[in-house]
């Protein structure tokens, strides 16, 4: 098992706030890697730095052995990294199916000329895009909602749709930003099954999550962030017993 993603000394500050301080970590091929920490610890900032929404002040990412240099957001997707969002960011006025089809953009070719001529190759590709998108909707369990506008889907289904759209880009690393936020116990359980299925299908997963039980049950390894610093990284059982982690979560007085 090789290393898929390596972060080296990643730092980012906003004004006087040091959101990320020298974060280094590495994620192995095929594992589920959890990133946890109290609110404001820098988890989402780390995601945004990784996916190029922010540039980091210092430090670098290496993906699949090559430096990840991002000049435009679509290059992250092209490299093989896809993500979902803590606050859902679907294309609200497009159907569920179309949302996933947008994710296929990167892996398909047809341009304006094809669109105007509608030649055989273009139509065949369009057909293939739709077939694949329907498969992905089925995979995440919302095939029945294909033609509904994304904004009309139930909350849990919107989260699933985001995962399907991300999968459409054929990622090697799927970054999930609090996928269980706002879900009830049943929805969380089926989300867990979905993430397990993704792992079986060979997708490496970086998971930010508040639901500690979900993280501890799913992840192979967990890193804990607190005030922008990595304070622990280990298998879930050890992290749970780490003194610094307990202090970060429960406050200094109790530790």
């Amino acid at each position: 098992m090789g290393v898929l993603l390596r972060a080296q000394g990643v730092s980012k500050s906003f004004g006087g706030v040091q959101a990320l301080r020298e974060i280094s970590l590495s994620i192995d091929q095929g594992e589920i890697y959890g990133l946890i920490g109290p609110n404001g610890a820098g988890k989402t900032t780390f995601f945004n730095a990784l996916t190029g929404l922010y540039s980091c002040d210092r430090g670098e990412f290496e993906f699949d052995g090559k430096p990840l240099k991002v000049r435009a957001p679509h290059e992250v997707a092209r490299a093989g990294i896809a993500r979902t969002f803590q606050n859902i960011r679907l294309f609200a006025n497009m159907t569920a199916l179309e949302n996933v089809m947008v994710g296929r953009h990167l892996r398909t070719r047809a341009g304006v000329i094809g669109a105007v001529l509608r030649d055989r190759a273009t139509r065949a590709e369009e057909q293939a895009i739709e077939v694949r998108a329907r498969e992905l909707l089925d995979y995440v369990g919302i095939a029945g909602r294909a033609n509904d506008l994304a904004r009309h889907l139930a909350y849990g289904d919107q989260r699933r749709l985001e995962i399907a759209r991300a999968l459409a880009t054929e990622p090697r690393l799927l970054a999930l930003d609090e996928p269980a936020a706002g879900m009830n116990a049943t929805e969380t359980a089926s989300l867990r099954d979905l993430i397990e299925a993704l792992r079986r299908d060979g997708i490496t997963i970086l998971l930010i999550e508040h639901d500690v039980r979900l993280v501890m049950g799913l992840c192979d390894r967990v890193a804990v962030l607190d005030y922008g610093e990595k304070i622990a990284e280990d298998v879930p059982e050890k992290v749970q017993k780490d003194a610094k982690v307990i202090e970060a979560y429960l406050g200094g007085s109790l530790a």
């Binding site: 679509h74 294309f91 953009h105 892996r107």
Partner: protein, 307 residues
Amino acid sequence: MDIFIQQIINGLVLGSIYALVALGYTMVYGIMGLINFAHGEVVMIGALTSLSIIKLLAGTSLPGPVVVLIGLAGAIPVCMALGFTIERVAYRPLRAAPRLAPLITAIGVSIVLQQVGMLIWGRNYHAFPGLLPTTPRHILGAQITDLQVLIVVLAALIMAALILLVNTTRIGRAMRATAENPDIAGLMGVDVNQIISITFVIGSALAAVAGVMVSANYSIAHYYMGFILGLKAFTAAVLGGIGNMGGAMLGGVLLGLIESLGAGYIGDLTGGFLGSNYQDVFAFFVLILVLVFRPSGLMGEKLAERA
């Protein structure tokens, strides 16, 4: 009654042209929230480029409609290249700037293009050679020329093709995704810069077609023609709901009809005090009414999100 029918026909012809130009405004606004005030000048460049080509070929033995078609075919790529360059040079460097900066730049580009037009084609009005059959047909007491029929039909076909492009193709999907949220579209693998370029190029191609139509219909072209035409098409886009493509089509046709009917009846209504030369007043009166009473336009609903 025959005046009424006649003005409806004239309004439809004018409205089709407005709609084509309005689409260029609305597509760019929809995708990047920018009002491209230089768009009217692209129409002008299209009209004058085709005029130059047509004048060059007018002496040959080619039949008139073929000459006009070649002129159109020459103007389209010129305008496409121009639209691409405008975005690349003037707007892309300002993508992250406050919204006022690209807006003012757009006005600057518009002035630059007018001056370029003047340098190339001079200050004079150019007569558009009468190469197309203009024998009128009579319908219900009104007259309509083959050219006018052609303008309406061609505009309708182009708009239908555009609707298909946007709604059923890979590029169209990426355009809609970018319009909803460029950052997210990028993260999902859409090359946002490429999609913005394509949007400018398509809008400019429509502008070229509209430029040839308007100068053929009124038999005249001029370096300053893009200014007022652009403002009216912008009004049409706002009337329909800027950012909404169906709205631009509806707004264009409606504005054409309002202007034509207004010009046809203003003399009677004011007892001869105001004449049809006050035609332009209607468009801007409509703009004011829309901005006061329904700023999101007839079909718009998403304006607040952008503002």
